[in-house]
Structure formats: structure tokens, C-alpha cells
């Protein structure tokens, strides 16, 4: 079976995370730009004196891998993305029931 690993990271950690993932067999990844905040608050911005409660820019790196690889991938991301400061992000792991490679129609773990 497979799991989806979604890592919310600092934009500055992207290169390190991608480099780290190469070392564990280079799974397919997608990266999306998002804005967000964790338990800490966002940041207050000001436009012509008017306050706006802002969110911080983050990236979500998503990879789907076989169950056996989950721990390795998570460890790599944690290691690559950690600075030790508040705002390093989080990783969520969730079940994936199937995967299909569009080009070939292959299914399951072969497809990831």
C-alpha cells in the first residue's frame, strides 16, 4: 500500500528537501505555493496605515510513496527542512488507496 506525504515547509527549504529526496530514490513530487500560519500567528501588514492580518508564504511538497518508504522520506524531509526556529512547518501522512500512471495505465505501487 501507499501513503501520501504532504510537507508544509519554508520556501527557503525547497532545494534542500528536493536534494534530500534524490537520495531516497527520487520519488515524484509536486510543489505548490500556499500561504498559512501554524500555532504561531501570521504577521501584521500595513497599507497606507491600514492593518491587514497577513499569512506567511509556505510551500507544500507532496509525494506519494510505498508504505515501506514513508519513514525514510519523512526523516529526510525533517532533516532537510529543519532550522530549529518556529515556522519550520509540518508533515502530514495519509493513506492512498490507489495510484495510476496516466501514460501506461499501470496501477498501485508500480505507478508511484
Amino acid at each position: 500500500m501507499m501513503k501520501k506525504i504532504e510537507a508544509i515547509i519554508r520556501p527557503s527549504a525547497l532545494r534542500a528537501v528536493l536534494d534530500g529526496l534524490k537520495a531516497v530514490g527520487y520519488p515524484g513530487v509536486t510543489v505548490a505555493e500556499v500561504q498559512g500560519h501554524g500555532k504561531q500567528k501570521g504577521i501584521t501588514e500595513s497599507y497606507r496605515g491600514q492593518s491587514v492580518e497577513g499569512l506567511l508564504p509556505k510551500l507544500v511538497v507532496t509525494a506519494v510513496v510505498g508504505d515501506k518508504q514513508v519513514k525514510k522520506v519523512v526523516d529526510i524531509i525533517v532533516k532537510s527542512a529543519r532550522t530549529g526556529e518556529i515556522g519550520d512547518g509540518k508533515i502530514f501522512v495519509s493513506p492512498v488507496s490507489d495510484a495510476i500512471r496516466i501514460r501506461t495505465g499501470e496501477k498501485g505501487e508500480k505507478a508511484v
Binding site: 501588514e45 500595513s46 497599507y47 497606507r48 496605515g49 491600514q50 491587514v52 492580518e53 497577513g54
Partner: protein, 465 residues
């Protein structure tokens, strides 16, 4: 909000009274005009006086290629200010309204260019002698003399098209007040009426040989005609239209500040045509206007940042851009009458005034969305009054001395012009608002506003996957 809602209700109830007040002001002004008739053409000011200090009947001046070159270049520069304004405003709105906001400026170029050559120029600068209008003798630019007495060294077409660019940008400035909530049809009809019944008369009164010019009011490049007229009309419209849906509850940060800075930069660039071009000649006065314009603008941008540092702890790029625009606005009436020191003061003070006005707006809760009143109304008023303070006859022999040169009377003349322009602009805007609202409609429906004007009014989006 409470204050504002009351004010708005008052505004709506008192429409008739206000309009009446406006018109009675007009009527009394007409009386003054007749009293003032003897001085007519003696010391008419602004672009005209500046350009033509030595004009008198009987000695026609030759066309100057240099002056023509500069005025045509200036007209092109001023044209670019309106797209500059489009981007300045469009970057400040939410993504869903970016194109509609650009359109409000861009289509104004088309709309008023046509209005101006058909009837606008005739109404504003035609030879007629009525109080508000120059008449219809120059419809379709027929019967135009070879040169205008207001710019005797260039072909008349050069002066006419230079003035066209002013007529274009003025109603476009108002867009900042009704951003993100006006229907496109209402916008087009309102703008056309406003250009005809507000801009053209005020241009006539101040520049086109009308009452305030004769009175000796100083407005080199449009502090009253352009910035106050649009600024006070913007205030009236913001109150009449009410706030945007979600105002004060939703975040409405500028969706693209790079566009704002692009627009501000084009405005600064084009404004050299606006101000230095208003000399209508490539002479020392144009150079003075160029330098005072640049200096006041720079000073105002610095000062806005300084005020922000004191008030919020950080200087912002939006603040620098806003300060630059405020400085440009404030120096506009003064640039051809004041010296360098005057321009430094005018620029430094305008940012304090405009920044404060915007904080007051936030407190009061009315929604002059992109601060047309806060910047152009307040900045234009300050500039017009400041001209009465710092003006020097030594800079412009066709002008007058101000308070600091020992002529407090000039300040009173400026005050009178300021008062009239504010009252007239507000009164007429209220009338036009109700006419357009009852016919084609001004504000979009709530659902359209929620969807965004780009999709609801134009069926397109600014950015696509």
C-alpha cells in the same frame, strides 16, 4: 461606521438642498464675475499666463519649433499618465477587479479624446462669454484660430491636444473612489457627464478666460482644475455609493504591489509633461516647473516614509509611491510660481496632511477605496493654498506674489477658488450621481460585486492558469 452611515443618510436626504446650494454659489459667483469684469485678461493665470506673459493684441508671435516640440512631447507624456494611473490603481484592488480597474482609466482615454474634439474643448476654451462655458463655436474643432492666445508660439492643435490629456486623466482620477463596485455602463455615462458638466466648466473658469482666471487665481498645471475637482467629486461619490461589500471585515490588501509601483513610476515620468509642459514653451519657466516638480515629489515620498516610520515603525513601498503621487499633486498648481525652497516645503507638508487624512478616513469608515480624496482632494487643496503662500513674481512675471512675499491677498483669491471648486464639484457630482443611478444604474448588484467586476462587467479575467 455610525458616523459615516449618518453622514451618508444626511447626504442622500440633503441632495436637493446641496445642489441648490451649489447652484446658488454659482449664481453669486456670476455676480462677482460681472463686478470683476474690468480686470479680465489683465492677469489671467495658470498655463495661460505662464505661457504668454507678453501676449497682447496686435503682435502675433511666430510659431516656434522648439516650443512645439516640447508641447507635443509633453502631450505624449501626459497621455501616459492615464495608463500609469490605471496600473497604480489596479495593483491596489483585489485580483478579481484588476482589469475593470485598468479599463476605467484606459477607456477614459478613448472616451474623453472623442468628447474633447467634438465638444469638450469648445466648452472649456471656446470664445463664448457665458459664466460656465466657452460656448459651442469650436464644435468638431471647426473655426479654430491658427494659434490659441494661451499658447501663442505653437500651432493651436498642439495646445488643444495637450489640454485633451488633462481632460482625460481628471475623471480617471475619480476611479479610486468607486473602485471595485461601479457598473461599467454607469461608469461610462457618469464620466461623460462629469467631464462635460464639471471638468469643462472648471477648466473654463480657471484657464479658459473665465471668472477665476480673471480674478488672478494661480493654478499653473491643474491643482484646482484637475486634482480638487476630481478629489471632491470622489469624496461625494464614496459617500453616496457606500462601502464595498465586506469593507472593514474582509482583508483587502493590494493584490499586486509591483503594478502599483510601475504605475507610480509612469505617473512621475509623465508628470514632467503635465507640469513643465504647462509652460507651453521650452523656456526657463518650464525648467523651473520641472525642477520644483521633481523636488516636491522626492520630498513628499521621503516624508511619507518618515511619517510611516513614526506611526507604524516601518516604511512601505506603497507609502513611498503614495507620497510621490501626493507630492506631484501638491506641486501641480505651484510648480510655475514657486521656487525651490517653496517646493521643498510643499512636498514635505503634503505627505503629513494626506497621511493624516487617510487615517481619519479609516476611523470614519467611509470607503474612498484608493484614496482619491485623501491624496488628490487634500493634496490639491494644499497645493492651491500653498501656491498663495510661496508664489513669487520673480519666478513668473505673469503670476503674483504670495503671502511670504508680502501679498496675503493672493491667499484669499486662492481660498475663494478652492472653495468654489470644492462646492461646485460636490454639488454637481451629487446631481449627476442621482441622474445616472436612476437611469442606467451606478453600483453593481451584490452578487456581481462578490464575483468581481472583471467577470461580471467584462467577462474576462486578468490572470489565467
Amino acid at each position: 461606521m455610525g458616523f459615516f452611515e449618518k453622514l451618508r443618510a444626511l447626504f442622500k436626504r440633503r441632495t436637493a438642498a446641496l445642489a441648490a446650494a451649489g447652484f446658488s454659489a454659482l449664481a453669486s459667483a456670476a455676480v462677482w464675475a460681472q463686478q470683476a469684469a474690468p480686470v479680465t485678461t489683465a492677469a489671467s493665470a495658470g498655463a495661460s499666463a505662464a505661457a504668454a506673459p507678453v501676449v497682447s493684441a496686435g503682435s502675433p508671435q511666430a510659431i516656434s519649433a522648439g516650443d512645439t516640440a516640447w508641447l507635443l512631447a509633453s502631450a505624449a507624456l501626459v497621455l501616459l499618465m492615464t495608463p500609469g494611473l490605471a496600473f497604480f490603481y489596479a495593483g491596489m484592488v483585489r485580483k478579481k477587479n484588476v482589469m475593470a480597474t485598468i479599463m476605467q482609466s484606459f477607456i477614459m482615454i478613448a472616451l474623453i479624446s472623442v468628447q474633447w474634439v467634438i465638444w469638450g474643448y469648445s466648452l472649456a476654451f471656446g470664445p463664448g462669454k457665458s459664466f460656465l462655458f466657452g460656448g459651442l463655436d469650436w464644435l468638431f474643432l471647426k473655426h479654430l484660430p491658427d494659434v490659441s492666445p494661451l499658447a501663442p508660439t505653437v500651432p493651436h492643435y498642439a495646445y488643444m491636444i495637450f489640454q485633451a490629456m488633462f481632460a482625460i486623466i481628471t475623471p480617471a482620477l475619480i476611479c479610486g473612489a468607486y473602485a471595485e463596485r461601479l457598473s461599467f455602463k454607469g461608469f461610462v455615462v457618469f464620466s461623460l457627464l462629469w467631464a462635460t458638466f464639471v471638468y469643462d466648466p472648471i477648466a473654463h473658469l480657471v484657464w479658459g478666460g473665465g471668472y477665476f482666471g480673471s480674478l488672478g487665481a494661480l493654478d499653473f498645471a491643474g491643482g484646482t482644475v484637475v486634482h480638487m475637482s476630481s478629489g471632491y467629486s470622489a469624496l461625494a461619490l464614496a459617500l453616496l455609493l457606500g462601502t464595498r461589500k465586506g469593507y472593514g471585515k474582509e482583508n483587502m490588501p493590494p493584490h499586486n504591489l509591483t503594478l502599483v509601483l510601475l504605475g507610480a513610476s509612469l505617473l512621475w515620468f509623465g508628470w514632467f509633461g503635465f507640469n513643465a509642459g504647462s509652460a507651453c514653451a521650452a523656456n526657463a519657466l518650464a525648467c523651473n516647473a520641472f525642477v520644483t516638480t521633481n523636488t516636491a515629489t522626492a520630498m513628499a515620498a521621503l516624508m511619507w516614509c518618515a511619517v510611516e516610520m513614526v506611526h507604524r515603525g516601518k516604511a512601505t513601498t506603497l507609502g513611498a509611491a503614495s507620497g510621490a503621487v501626493a507630492g506631484l499633486v501638491a506641486i501641480t498648481p505651484a510648480c510655475g510660481f514657486v521656487d525651490l525652497i517653496g517646493s521643498l516645503w510643499i512636498g514635505a507638508i503634503v505627505s503629513i496632511l494626506c497621511y493624516t487624512a487617510i487615517q481619519v478616513k479609516i476611523k470614519l469608515g467611509y470607503d474612498d477605496s484608493l484614496d482619491t480624496f485623501g491624496v488628490h482632494g487634500v493634496g490639491g487643496t494644499w497645493g492651491a493654498l500653498a501656491t498663495g503662500i510661496w508664489a513669487l513674481k520673480s519666478i513668473n512675471s505673469g503670476g503674483a506674489d504670495g503671502v511670504l512675499a508680502g501679498n496675503p491677498g493672493q491667499f484669499l483669491i486662492q481660498l475663494k477658488t478652492v472653495g468654489f471648486t470644492a462646492v461646485y464639484s460636490i454639488a454637481l457630482t451629487v446631481v449627476l450621481y442621482f441622474i445616472v443611478d436612476k437611469t442606467v444604474g451606478m453600483r453593481v448588484h451584490q452578487k456581481e460585486e462578490e464575483l468581481g467586476l472583471d467577470l461580471s462587467q467584462h467577462g474576462e479575467e486578468g490572470y489565467h492558469i
